[in-house]
Symmetry: C2
Subunit: 640 residues, 2 copies
């Protein structure tokens, strides 16, 4: 396979042959797996053949090389095509290629970073282009590196709003290191797409968002080659290449036919024969021309996080945890130059603004586009940066699919959600996160933190830098009393026992805004000679099962209290820990569980002051005290 820069007659022939090889291999692996998307692969085979042989700059022996281009299959279901490219590049063997979609194989149904050449998992459409925009942004604005980002999109996925968030961000940021290739094969899963082969419809849309647009015949290798060359040379705008293709191209039984999506071809041998038989060309993919100006992993050789000092707050003060988050983030940015911060146009509220003021070059305004914000974080961490992304906690729900997929991508991203719960007061339910703990707990490998005071929030903000996977910090709008000493350390998975005595009759487990309420409730109960233990469960996931279990055994009764719906939050985390300590590493408990009662927000809130809201929701000090007294009276516990 020639890799000469100029396209000669023989080269065009070779490229067409490579395209057929990728088709045959896509057909082969899907047939062996008895599943997969060969027809969606065949439409884009010529597009990828030309890219692989002539334009991609990538060292397949060193996927971590900082100068490598990035190739993202936003249409992740075309994984047969991607794996066929890996086979052609010599990155995987024929033997491994044969394991497609089998148990234990790295060649999963949709690409994931289990393969070292894959930056991010795709398969939820409209995400690859968004993550690619994040990587291109890192290359352009953080690293000033010459690598290019290539994204293969399907036409169906252009219906996703996230595509247009990406188009807006990339267009406005003039990301000329980004090329998006749209495989317009006219057919979605169920039938024809909205615009079918109306390439101009897509061209108008991308053009309006500030992109350089080229339309090509996606089966004309010379036209494709020219389009890529033009894209690489074009400056000041990202390029989209809108390619007219035919789904199932090359096999009459499926070509441009409805009902052939997502299944092996009806006759494998006949199809391979029709495509001209098996080939086994090896492509010498060009390595990157030069290393980038900055290392791809900006944390390499950097002093450890222990040198970071969080801002300190005097006990007795009242400070909002969001304020501590912002100040800690600004300090972290000074100590760790790989820190980058993204915000959804509410940095003045989340306090991410403090980082922007201190480190404007590493602050990215994502405007009100939460999906693109998360995608940018995922893309930047793929380049070795340390991203924090902040918005109102309620609006992280907008990006749940991106957060879910970040976990599939094995991405390490840090999220901060401010203005959680009814405690925000008058703005009403649209602005109140009441499901964020449930949403973030149900992310694989996630860490969920909910600090109650400024020193704790500051410490945890820094600690998140070293957490792998998706981590989440829930912050509060209003001021809360500082109860911990400046610089106090808080373990992930830990807790604080704030009140404890030998005669405790009930344990109150709280977090965030309910901690001061629980302490006040303890005072009220003490006046009635009811002794309570109070635990600050700032680490909601992993939760401190050992301390909770001990408290439950000591007191026999547990009351949880949270500013969240009853489902999936702190109460459920406590119940799960008490029910099954075996899961936490210890032996399965032999004794029965204690009585547990959950206090949470059960009615749809309206507008009211923060204090009124807590009272209406039954999670203020008086309500907690009443529920605790009720629990003591109604349940024998261990000290009847």
């Amino acid at each position: 396979m020639s890799t000469t820069p100029l396209l000669e007659r023989d080269t065009a022939h070779d490229l067409r042959e490579l395209g057929q090889q990728l088709r045959v291999d896509s057909v082969r692996c899907s047939a062996a797996a008895k599943s997969g998307h060969p027809t969606s692969s065949m439409s884009a085979a010529d597009l990828m053949a030309v890219l692989l042989a002539r334009h991609l700059r990538y060292d397949f022996d060193d996927p971590a090389a900082p100068g490598n281009d990035h190739l993202i299959f936003s249409k992740g279901h075309a994984s047969p095509l991607y794996y066929s490219m890996l086979l052609a590049a010599g990155a995987v063997t024929e033997e491994e290629f044969g394991t497609y979609r089998q148990e234990g194989s790295r060649l999963e149904g949709h690409p994931t970073p289990v393969l070292p050449w894959v930056d991010v998992a795709t398969g939820s459409l409209g995400q690859g282009i968004a993550v690619g925009t994040g990587i291109a942004l890192a290359g352009k604005e953080l690293e000033r590196a010459p690598y290019r980002v290539w994204v293969l999109c399907g036409d169906s996925e252009l219906a996703e709003g996230s595509v247009w968030e990406a188009a807006e961000h990339a267009g406005h940021s003039r990301l000329d290191n980004l090329t998006v290739i749209v495989d317009v094969n006219r057919l979605g899963q169920r039938g024809p797409t909205r615009h079918q082969w109306n390439l101009d419809a897509y061209a108008r849309r991308f053009g309006a968002f500030g992109w350089h647009v080229t339309e090509v015949d996606g089966h004309d290798v010379e036209a494709i080659d020219s389009a890529y060359a033009e894209a690489s040379e074009h400056t000041g705008q990202p390029t989209v290449i809108i390619a007219r293709t035919r789904k199932g191209r090359g096999v009459a039984a499926v070509e441009d036919k409805e009902g052939a999506h997502g299944k092996p071809l009806p006759d494998t041998e006949e199809a391979i024969a029709e495509l001209g038989g098996r080939r086994s060309a090896r492509v010498s993919v060009s390595p990157p021309a030069s290393a980038p100006a900055r290392p791809a992993r900006p944390d390499a050789g950097h002093p450890p996080a222990g040198l970071w000092r969080p801002p300190g707050y005097r006990t007795g003060q009242s400070v909002a945890t969001r304020t501590a988050f912002g100040e800690a983030l600004a300090a972290l940015g000074a100590a760790r130059p790989e820190t980058v911060v993204l915000d959804g146009e509410v940095g003045d509220s989340t306090r991410a603004q403090y980082f922007a003021d201190a480190h404007p070059d590493r602050y990215f305004e994502c405007y009100i586009a939460e999906q693109q914000m998360i995608a940018t974080a995922v893309g930047m961490q793929a380049r070795g940066w340390l991203p924090y992304a902040a918005t109102f906690a309620a609006f992280l729900t907008r990006a749940y699919d991106f957060i879910r997929m970040a976990a599939v991508s094995r991405a390490s991203i840090r999220l901060a959600g401010s203005h959680a719960g009814v405690a925000i007061g008058r703005d009403g339910p649209s602005q109140m996160a009441l499901e964020d703990l449930a949403m973030l707990r149900a992310v694989h490998g996630s860490t969920v933190l909910y600090p109650c005071d400024a020193n704790q929030a500051a410490w945890l903000t820094g600690a998140m830098a070293d957490i792998a996977g998706v981590s989440y910090l829930r912050t509060s709008r209003g001021e809360t009393p500082v109860i911990y000493e400046p610089g106090e350390r808080f373990e992930i998975g830990g807790s604080r026992v704030l009140r404890s005595g030998p005669a405790d009759q009930v344990t109150i487990v709280a977090a965030g805004v309910t901690v001061p309420e629980a302490l006040a409730a303890a005072d009220l109960l003490a006046a009635d000679e009811v002794s309570v233990r109070v635990i600050d469960a700032y680490s909601v996931k992993p939760v401190d099962a050992v301390t909770l279990r001990e408290a439950a055994e000591d007191t026999g009764r547990v009351l949880t209290v949270e500013d969240h719906w009853p489902e999936g939050g702190l109460g459920d985390a406590v119940l799960a820990a008490l029910a099954d300590p075996g899961r936490q590493g210890g032996p399965l408990a032999a004794g029965p569980l204690p009585a547990v009662r959950k206090l949470a927000v059960t009615a749809m809130p309206g507008s009211a002051s923060p204090d009124e809201q807590l009272k209406l929701a039954g999670i203020d000090a008086e309500s907690i005290a009443a529920a605790a007294a009720d629990l003591v009276a109604g349940h024998p516990g261990v000290r009847p």
Copy 2:
């Protein structure tokens, strides 16, 4: 206030005066509440004055009148302006107006349907335009009614991808009954918007998506009036009016100033004086000219759902629950003509296609735009239709913010998610919903159903028609054995005890695909002389606390098993029910809890066959049997 159709000199003066009145009232109510968004209201005051006085067709005395126009504040934070309009229209009194943002007030921080004139809650940006598109679609394609939909958007929110999903759907559907007014006041919350006063940037984008575009000076009442008239007359396209405005217009201290977002004006009295003082004009808003061709509530007078007959499946067959869902939906569509079905371009997989085949006029292809799909459902139910929306369960995560807001909107929508869990097999984790139960349980007032066989799925599909709020049916890709009789009734909040005996040592609680595994586990255990109870907890929320409690008391040990992450799903629902039966209406339990162990998916899956996946996740029959035996051996229970 004149409501003559032609704009005369005096009328223009009156309109300007009305605009000033709306500004003064916005300032007043925000000052009284000591919070709110007066400056975001002031920019749009002239736009809304002209709409209210001259173009809106609405009977404020009869908000349910089917011919009424619909007015949606997509920029819900401009609620002071909306409430000032209600005051001017005589819909609310000055006394109620003074309760803005106070405890118990209907005038919440962002509008909600607590007010009868509000169709849907807004406040999460980028949603009002999407719901408005759904209402316009109902007007155009279902009702053929003459009402118009007016949506007020901010400029900041145009960064949301959901706006472009709506623009695509409305443009392609040629919704000429929809007018979107964009209040381009240049300033977002944190600072300038991406495009500031570049009206052409917005015009190009909407134009590319097929909209009729008009640019106006948003403070020129005559130009606004002409633009509305043009929008109402224009056919074949939706219209967007892009209005250049000044945030805080009319008060020098805040006009076009940064840092004045979302707070009362610095000097209320001075501001009111600068605006020309208080006014108290009453606007006679024109009622709709005529009733629509069809009733707004198509279910009015319709026979009750009891007449519907679900499709039946013979026991012993194997049928996928998604297939039963699709067939039941088609049958329901015949019995209840108000049923409408939406799908995200995967109707062949979800089986919503069966409805499309039977009732093509009431099937809406939403393409791969899940946010718009949910918004359309919310919009159509606001018009009295009975919407079901289906896609892969995993991709409902894309629309979580819309689902959350549907609950704030008190909307009744029915969601169906197919291809749940690792049981889908080879496609890999991007396609597997493993957080959907947690996500949907944590929606206020939601119902979560997870059938294990076809007859149960069919019955529950029909039962959802009569559920208020957000309901969710989780269906499975693969076939499962039919174990219930055709036509068997399943209560919401119920369960089925499938195995039971006087000597049961452990209760296995399963749902969906784990039910057949649990039954097989029971057979394995019986061979070892361990007697187990098996419960099919098809109603995950509300869960059948009474039956679960009874089983727990009888057997002393409970094992839950689910195809879902451990957090927030069936296991947590069971734990919550056992821990706190008092919540379910009964008295608080006096005794301790049983031992509970949860089986769920704990490691990130890859590709494998469905059977391999269940085994790898430890939720197949053998794993269940082993865990049950372990629980019996390790815990004394009630029968040691």
